[in-house]
């Protein structure tokens, strides 16, 4: 499938998706609530069969949070970037995809640990890199750490 077909495929499933041709990959932004249904379809449908999630990460934007999925199909060799937009920074929540791509389990724990995004139905959502009693979400832009200050 080329970018145009992937775009059409996603628009058929999620009408409100915003597509953008990046310098490299096709970038598609969808509302966070649609992630589970779209992700299962992308993996299961033989035309898309995106079976390889090679990167999962989160981005802290001024007024919302994003979870970014880099997807590739090992059979069709096409790839694109899926972004799920969570409209709040207060208590961001999104469905887990670790039943679809098992690598997501650790990656989602990392995103929870550093960004405070809660992945619903995740089997074991705990802090991963930081200690259990750590306060705050260090990778957020407004995180203030008075002890380990970095001076510029």
């Amino acid at each position: 499938m080329n970018n145009e077909e992937i775009k059409q495929f996603i628009l058929d499933h999620v009408a409100e998706a915003e597509c953008m041709e990046g310098s490299q990959f096709l970038q598609v932004t969808i509302p966070a609530e649609k992630i589970l249904s779209l992700a299962s379809e992308l993996k299961a449908n033989p035309n898309t069969s995106f079976d390889y999630l090679f990167c999962l990460t989160a981005v802290d934007r001024p007024d919302h949070m994003e979870v970014v999925y880099h997807l590739k199909s090992t059979t069709h060799n096409h790839q694109f970037v899926l972004k799920a937009k969570i409209n709040t920074r207060e208590n961001p929540e999104i469905e887990t995809v670790c039943h679809i791509w098992r690598t997501a389990e650790l990656h989602e724990r990392e995103a929870y640990d550093l960004f405070g995004i809660k992945f619903l139905n995740h089997p074991d959502l705990r802090r991963l890199l930081l200690t259990d009693d750590w306060e705050g979400w260090p990778m957020r832009k407004d995180y203030d750490d008075p002890i380990n200050m970095i001076a510029y």
Partner: protein, 373 residues
């Protein structure tokens, strides 16, 4: 006596032990909490973060030239390849075409890095399984590559040679001769590795059929590198998305289908031959020209995002840069191969014995700073 045995019911209860953080076979500070039933592993739970430095957060305040120097503190055995990934991403964003000379030198350096990493892996893996000789052999041969690197870039660990736009310095006048000497030397030594371990009965029994990973699971867990390829997952970035001079050299992607420890072992040994083959094709054909293109002192990437993947000794290493047009990235994510490979450990080790877990971990070739970042 018989009565006593019958009277007391022999109970087996699940219990937990800590493997690490200071366990010799975890190669660093990895802590695994094992649920055991006797000696059978029921669950492996990695506890990470002992050397977490939040490199990604530091990158958000550093210039792109500085970021390059943080990446070799992650996977220190693939340092040149990690550096190159950031350089490639920056060059791609700036639409900078590096000279041919740089491409070829970078490819040779990459393959030397892969060789030295695999040599170290071979040495410590033998030691994990109780053979101290391999450790000495591995380090003895690795020393020659480390010497070449020392002469080239002035360091033996945490080496920096790549910069956005090219290389720090041109190659040393001795570089080509020493590299050729090394290849000639190592071609004689690599068969010795086979004699010592690959055909050793005890070694084989500890590896054959242990820690199996199917192709579907390898893809689902994102297991790449020799580990993924031993399961039949064709994931060599050098083949699928060629960068630098990889599109002009001839080499094979090593694939196996068994997916057990011995398949992973054989994959890495075969990769060493391929690496030498690549270097041989390039070492006499380094084009003349500049070793870098000038860049501005303050590099500002345009607004946008880039993802660059390269093949390190452990698998697919990715750099994801989101730029808002400033001198530092808005967000930078390192997709480290070790992190994804580790996620499959629990799945592979269930039902094995503790001694098998050591073999599985060795063949995963984990580097802990790469996982913790």
């Amino acid at each position: 006596m018989e009565e006593i045995i019958h009277d007391q019911e022999l109970e087996s209860k699940e219990y937990f032990i800590n493997m690490g953080p200071q366990h010799p076979s975890t190669h660093g500070v990895l802590r695994l909490v094992l649920s055991l039933d006797g000696e059978i592993i029921r669950k492996v739970e990695p506890h990470l973060g002992y050397i977490h430095r939040s490199i990604e957060k530091m990158c958000e305040h550093d210039s792109y030239q500085q970021i390059v120097h943080l990446t070799d503190r992650m996977d220190y055995l693939s340092c040149h390849i990690n550096n190159e990934a950031v350089c490639l991403a920056v060059e791609q964003a700036l639409e900078l075409e590096v000279p041919d000379r740089v491409k070829v030198i970078r490819t040779i350096i990459d393959e030397l890095t892969r060789l030295s990493s695999h040599q170290l892996w071979w040495g410590v893996m033998g030691m994990d399984l109780g053979a101290i000789t391999s450790f000495l052999y591995g380090f003895r041969d690795r020393e020659m590559i480390t010497d070449i690197f020392e002469e080239t870039c002035g360091a033996r660990l945490t080496m920096n040679y790549n910069i956005p736009g090219g290389l720090f310095f041109d190659i040393h006048p001795n570089f080509q001769k020493r590299t050729k000497d090394f290849i000639a030397y190592f071609k004689k030594k690599l068969p010795e590795y086979d004699t010592l371990l690959s055909n050793n009965v005890i070694f084989k029994q500890r590896m054959d059929g242990i820690g199996k990973l199917s192709k579907e699971d390898a893809i689902s867990f994102g297991v790449t590198g020799p580990t993924g390829r031993a399961s039949g997952f064709s994931c060599d970035v050098r083949k699928h998305h060629p960068y630098m001079a990889y599109d002009r050299v001839e080499f094979k992607e090593i694939l196996d289908t068994k997916g057990d420890c011995f398949a992973r072992y054989k994959c890495r040994i075969a990769e060493m031959w391929e690496s030498m083959h690549i270097i041989e094709q390039l070492i006499d054909n380094i084009p003349e020209g500049d070793y870098k293109v000038p860049t501005k002192a303050v590099i500002k990437l345009p607004k946008g995002e880039w993802y660059q993947k390269v093949e390190t000794a452990r698998g697919e290493f990715g750099v994801y840069i989101i730029s808002e047009g400033q001198r530092s990235p808005y967000r930078l994510k390192f997709r480290s191969p070790g992190f994804s490979n580790l996620s499959a450990l629990d799945h592979m080790a269930r039902g094995c014995k503790i001694a098998d877990l050591v073999a599985i971990m060795s063949t995963l070739d984990l580097v802990i700073p790469d996982i913790d970042r």
